[in-house]
Amino acid sequence: MSKINLLLSCSLFSLCLLISGCWDRIEMEERHFVLAAGIDLADEGLKPNQGPDVTRTETFVQPHGGKRYRLSLQILNLKPDGGGDDGDSKKDGDKKSYVISNTGQSFLEMTRDLLGQDNKDLWWEHLQTIIISEAVLKETGLKPIFDWFLRDHEMRWRVRVFVTPGEARPLLEYQPPSGDPGGIFFAGIMQNHRKDMHLAGMRTDLGWASQALDNDADIFLPRLELKDKVVKVNGTAAFNKDKFVGYLDDYAIKGTKFINATEKSAVVTIDSPDYPGGICAFELFRHDTRLRPHIKDGQVYFTLDISLIGNMGEMQEPVNSDKTSDPKYIRKLEVLFAEEVKDSALYAWRTMQAMHVDPFHLNAKLEAYETEAWEKLKDKWDEIYPTVPLVVSVNVTIRGSGEHK
């Protein structure tokens, strides 16, 4: 064998070293993917007669802390075809996910103890959703709950976090009509926030919550509710720093999105100006929004300049009454839509001030643009914030009237 052939053979043989993979690899089917985590109070959701038994089976002896939380995990079933011959096991196996729970205080300790209920290693890299029950948030702040999720390297920053007024575990057990596992389904809902002005999907995930915690800012998390097999994200849970203070309604979310410029394709409706009972809807395509702080004679105020460009999306008016080719009528509509946006923004502003929560990061804006003034104001900012006025200026431009009049 020539020297070149020998070298070539050795080189090819050495390639085997590269395709052997890592020594510590775990095949995908050897892991159990956690898709969603639900956090309830430890005694939440247990029937009185089964409570102690279930708790005793689920949990573990804790040398420190108390049985504060019930952590439930929704785990992806990678073999949805089941495996058993009898009908029951087949039926169970058909489920794309299953739920296991544990009670304790340390989330890390609970997740490790949950391995006693599962036959494979739990893998958190595909965690999509965290659902926290309102009852938990009335007992404790977000920081102790988030701490482990933020420290562990397997967690993603874009994990969706929800607050539910009921229990979290039933939401994990919920079978979405699409057939997707719940964790993926709920996270997918939040992807629609660009088109739905009632979904607070921007800056409300684990990463943003972490950033708010780092900056001592207020946190906002979408509210997820399950009622009679209907699941909906409606409203937002507001937190003063990490303490739960209440919910914001859909209209306040809409206004907040206008102020924060997080709307992408808003729908603005008004009553038809010429036809009582009719309704006109404007569909936003593009916007330019600026929220700026000002100080005059020691008084702080903010200006909000919004410029919206879009189409007429819908006009519920009588037959053959369309006036969209009349520039005067279009101008009239533009003014009315602008008024509506202004009302919406001011409603959100006043609601936030009344609740003493700030989703607009006004303190950060003051520090950024009026640094010297902020140094004087920062100690009394909590008192000033509820009285800070907002001057709104909205300009709406209707560029088109749709395909058909």
Partner: protein, 371 residues
């Protein structure tokens, strides 16, 4: 024109590339937190001023090198300082690199284990990385030079491109205020702390005699290298703060990784982008470690008049490995970092200017004699 046949020589441009490639290393991921914690909103300015300061030190090194064009510091420092002090300077120089390898290796292995190989003992990972670095440092300068150039033009740009993906979550308002008065007192300490970012430029003292002096001014070429480094570090700092805010960066151990992990590209098969960043960070660190190992081995070779630097590389390798293991605790690593920083600052801002002053003073004496 460089003599391409000579494997132990390089052009001025190559020296600039080697300097930039050596200095850009582990700090991209493990150095940002500390610097922003120190400098707050003014970190960007500290980096620019720090770049200028350490470039000034580099100009002093060039001045020294021009006075002894064919000698390394191993031969001219004893001439300048006398035998005893000259030897101290040489040992200081060698020790600086060796300590830096130990601290970098410890920090890097922690980060790699945390993000990629959670089940691999850090000691095993350090052993692997060190083995590759030792193998590289055993080569002659020509091989090292090509590796440095290859990594500078292949791994570093890919790292930069990947980092740019985190601009998806960039919020320019997080960088404001640009010039907060309250942070001005932090400027000088952050500039000094910034030595950790630029450290490695001291190799010029040793590589100067290996450089062909052609039409391109060495000061200009190294100015370009420092410009490149400043832009790289500035980009990392601006991106980290723009994505995470100043408080976010100070709360995160590896801000660049966190900024990357906040990016999701829906609809693509690419997930966990920060892992890709680590993959391209490893060669960037590797070339720094390899040259940091090669330099003290060469220094000791010349000092002890050996004909080969390899025994010294093989001697240093286990020492570095065990030093890295000793520095494994957070407190030990922090203390070692401080020691290295002060040693480095002492060398750059003390030894180099004093050496030049000494030289000027001696030269003046010579001129007086000539008169």
């Amino acid at each position: 024109m460089a003599n391409l046949e000579s494997k132990n020589k390089m052009s001025v441009i190559q020296l600039a590339i080697v300097t930039a490639s050596t200095c850009i290393g582990s700090q991209l991921i493990i150095g940002i937190n500390k610097l922003v914690t120190e400098g707050g909103h003014l970190t960007w300015l500290s980096i620019i001023l720090g770049g200028l300061l350490y470039y000034l030190v580099t100009l002093l090194m060039i001045k020294l090198g021009n006075e002894y064009p064919d000698q390394t510091l191993v031969s001219y420092m004893p001439e300048l300082w006398g035998s005893f002090l000259g030897n101290i300077v040489i040992w200081w120089f060698a020790l600086l690199f060796l300590l830096q390898i130990a601290t970098i290796l410890t920090g890097v292995r922690k980060a790699i284990v945390f993000f990629m190989f959670t089940r691999t003992p850090p000691e095993v990972l350090a052993l692997g990385l060190l083995t590759v670095c030792v193998y590289c440092a055993l080569q002659d300068w020509g091989t090292l030079l090509r590796i440095q150039q290859f990594i500078f033009f292949v791994a570093t740009p890919v790292f930069a491109l990947l980092l740019l993906v985190s601009l998806f979550n960039f919020n320019p308002e997080n960088l404001l205020p640009f010039l907060p008065k309250k942070d001005i007192p932090k400027l000088l300490p952050t500039m000094l702390e910034g030595w950790n970012m630029f450290s490695g430029y001291e190799i010029i003292l040793f590589l100067f005699p290996l450089t062909y002096h052609c039409q391109v001014s060495i000061a200009k070429a190294l100015g370009g290298a420092f410009g490149c480094m400043t832009v790289a570090f500035l980009a990392c700092i601006v991106i980290a703060i723009g994505v995470l805010t100043v408080n976010g960066v100070t709360s995160t151990l590896y801000p660049i990784m966190t900024a990357m992990s906040s990016v999701e590209l829906p609809g693509t098969f690419l997930e966990r982008l920060e892992t890709y960043l680590v993959v391209f960070w490893i060669p960037v660190v590797f070339d720094t470690l390899a040259i940091f190992l090669w330099i003290p081995a060469q220094v000791l070779m010349q000092k002890k008049q050996y004909t080969d630097h390899r025994p010294w590389v093989l001697l240093f390798a286990p020492l570095i490995y065990f030093a890295g293991n000793i520095l494994d605790s957070l407190k030990a690593l922090d203390t070692a970092d401080k020691v290295v920083t002060w040693l480095g600052l002492g060398f750059s801002l003390g030894v180099i200017p004093l050496s030049l002053l000494l030289l000027l003073w001696k030269n003046r004496g010579d001129k007086t004699c000539q008169k």
